[in-house]
Symmetry: C2
Subunit: 331 residues, 2 copies
Amino acid sequence: MTNRASLQDIADQLGITKMTVSRYFRTPEKVAPATREKIAQAVKQSGYIHNRAPALMSKALSRTVGVVIPSLSNQVFSALVDGIETITNAEAFDILLAHSGYDPHIEERKIEMLLSYQVDGLILCETEHTERTRTMLKQAGIPVVECMELPESPLDMVVGLDHKAAAFDAVSRMIKSNKRRIVYLAARLDRRTMLRQQGYEQAMWEAGLTPQIVATPFQSSFSQGGSLLKQALDTFDRLDGIFCTNDDLAVGAMQFCQNAGIRVPDDLAVMGYNGLDIGLTMQPPLTSVVTPRQAIGIKSARLIIDVINGKPRKEKLFDLGFSYTDGHSLG
Amino acid sequence: MTNRASLQDIADQLGITKMTVSRYFRTPEKVAPATREKIAQAVKQSGYIHNRAPALMSKALSRTVGVVIPSLSNQVFSALVDGIETITNAEAFDILLAHSGYDPHIEERKIEMLLSYQVDGLILCETEHTERTRTMLKQAGIPVVECMELPESPLDMVVGLDHKAAAFDAVSRMIKSNKRRIVYLAARLDRRTMLRQQGYEQAMWEAGLTPQIVATPFQSSFSQGGSLLKQALDTFDRLDGIFCTNDDLAVGAMQFCQNAGIRVPDDLAVMGYNGLDIGLTMQPPLTSVVTPRQAIGIKSARLIIDVINGKPRKEKLFDLGFSYTDGHSLG
DNA sequence: ATTATAAATGTTACGAGTAACATACACGGC
DNA sequence: GCCGTGTATGTTACTCGTAACATTTATAAT
C-alpha cells in the first residue's frame, strides 16, 4: 500500500549497497560488526519489514510449509499443528495455515492458494482429494504429507494410524468386558468415520454379534451425541454399549445417560475416540482411543523438512498407532 | 522447486504473448472467446498454478487479508473466521491464517510473517501488542481491525463488545435471581478475563456484596472448571452462585456438581460465557453470555475490504453487544 | 468506401531481494 | 616491500506477472 521501507532505503541512508543489508538479515556473520551495528540501528529506526515477494521469485526456498486442517475448533488438529510448529520453529521455517471444512473442493482452493505462495512443502489432514488437487500437487513437485490416516493411494508420504484397526481393538475390548449389544454412533460421515465403522463391524461379526449403526450426516456435537443415543435406545432393545466415533458424541451420550438415569458402565458401556480432556472429567471418566496427534505433527514436519533439505527417506509410510485414556466407562 | 509452468510457457505453446494469458485469468471477458478456449485447454493440460510472487512485487493489491487468532481449538474463533470468510469469499479475497497462542510475542512474529506476504489488511483478536507490533503496523499502512473486545488504545478499527458490561449484566441477573454469595471462576488470566472480573466486581459492589475470586493462570479446560469450583467450595462458605469466565469452566463445574450431588440452580446457580453448544446439552441447560462472534467476523472483514476499496468509514468503533443462551442454570 | 469506434492483442518497463561472481582492502609471514 | 589469504563489500543479472500504453484488427455508421 503505502511505500514501506526497502533494503535500498536503508542502504542509501548508510551509504552502502542493499546487498550488504540483505546479508545482514540472512548471514549476519558475513557482515563486519561495525556495519552490522549501523544497519541494526537503521533497520530499527525505519521499522523495516521483510518483503518476501522478490525472494519468492528467485528459485530459492521460501522456507514455508503449507498446512491444511479440516477444522479450526478441534483439539485434534490444534495438537497436530502444535507438533508441526515444534519442528518448523526449530528449523526456521514458517507455516501457512488454511482450513478446508472437511470439503475436498475447499481443500483444492486452499492448496492452490498455498502453492501460489510457493510453499516448499504441504501437510494435509485428509486423504480424499479432487482430481485437480492431485494434478496440481504432481506439477508442484514439492513434498507432501497426508497425515492422520493411512490412505489407499497416497500422494506422497503418509503419517498416521489405522483407524479401522483402532476401532476393531476398541470394540473388541468392549466385547471382552461382556458387552454384547453394542451400537456405533456416528456423525459427519467422512472417511475416518467410515473406517472406524468398518473396524467396529469386523469386531462385531468376528464375535458372532450383529453390528447396529445410528448415524447422522450432520456435524458432530455434544448435543448430537445425546440425540443419537436416544435414537439408538428407541430403535434397539437392551443396548449395553455404545462405540462413539468421537468424544463429542460420547460426552453428549454420557450426559444423556446421567439425565435419563442410565448407569455407566453397568447399564451401558461407553467408548469414545480421540481422548480429549473433557472425557476424563466425566463420572465415570470416559474410556477413549487416543490418537497420537502431536507425534503425528512432529513426524510430518520432520519428514517434509528432511526432504526439502535433500534427505529423502526410503520409507514413505509411518503408522504411529494408538492408545487409550485411563477411563472407567467400560465396566 | 521443479520448474512449474509459467504464463510464458503457455503463451509460447499457443503462439501468443503471456499478457493475453494473464488477462485470461484476471479479466477473461477481455479475451476473445476463441482464444479463451485455446488458453483454457493449454492451462488445463499444463496444470498451471498461479504464482503470486511477481504480482506481490507490483504495487497492486494482494487481495489477501491476514487473520491472527489466539487458538486453533476454540469455537469462538472458528465462528469468527467463518464470518470473515463469508465476506472475503464473496469479494474474491483470500485469507492467510496464523495463531498466536495468546502470546503477544508470537503474535508479533506472525504479524511480521503476514506483512512479509504483503497482506492488504489484518484482523487481530487481541488488544495487547508489543511495541514492535505497533511500530510495524504503523509502518505497514494497511487497515487493521482489532476484534472481540474494545481496547483502550486501538491501533485502527475495532469490532467487538464490552466484556465488562456483559459481565456486569450477567452477574446482575444472578443477583436478581436472589443469589448473593457468587464467586468468579477464572483461568488463563488474559485481558478479557480481567475485564469480566471487573464487571463482576462492579455488579457485586453495587449490590452491596463482596466479590470473591478463584483463579488459575493455567489454560482453561473442563477439568479445570471442576477443580476451581472445588477450591471455591472449600474456601468460601455457603456459595450460591458461580460466574465462570467461559463455558469450559462452567461445564466442568456443572459436572462436578452432578458428581457431588449439588443441585443446579437450587443449591448453586451457574453462569457461563460464550454460549457454546455443550452448555445447552447439560441438565439443566447452562445459561451463558453469547458473544456475536460470527457477526464480529463479518463486520471486521467488511470494514477491512471497504477501506481497501477506498471507502473508509468515519466511525472506527463498533460495539456489537451480547445476548444470552436460553438456559435454566440460574434459578 | 471511409472514417469513427471498439475489441483484441502486443510492447515495454517495472518491482526488490538474491545468487553468483568480482573487486577492494587488511593483515600476517617471509 | 611483496605475496597470499581471507574478509568485507560491490556489481550484474535474473525472476515473471502486471500496469500503462501502443498497435492492430474487426465492426459499425455515415
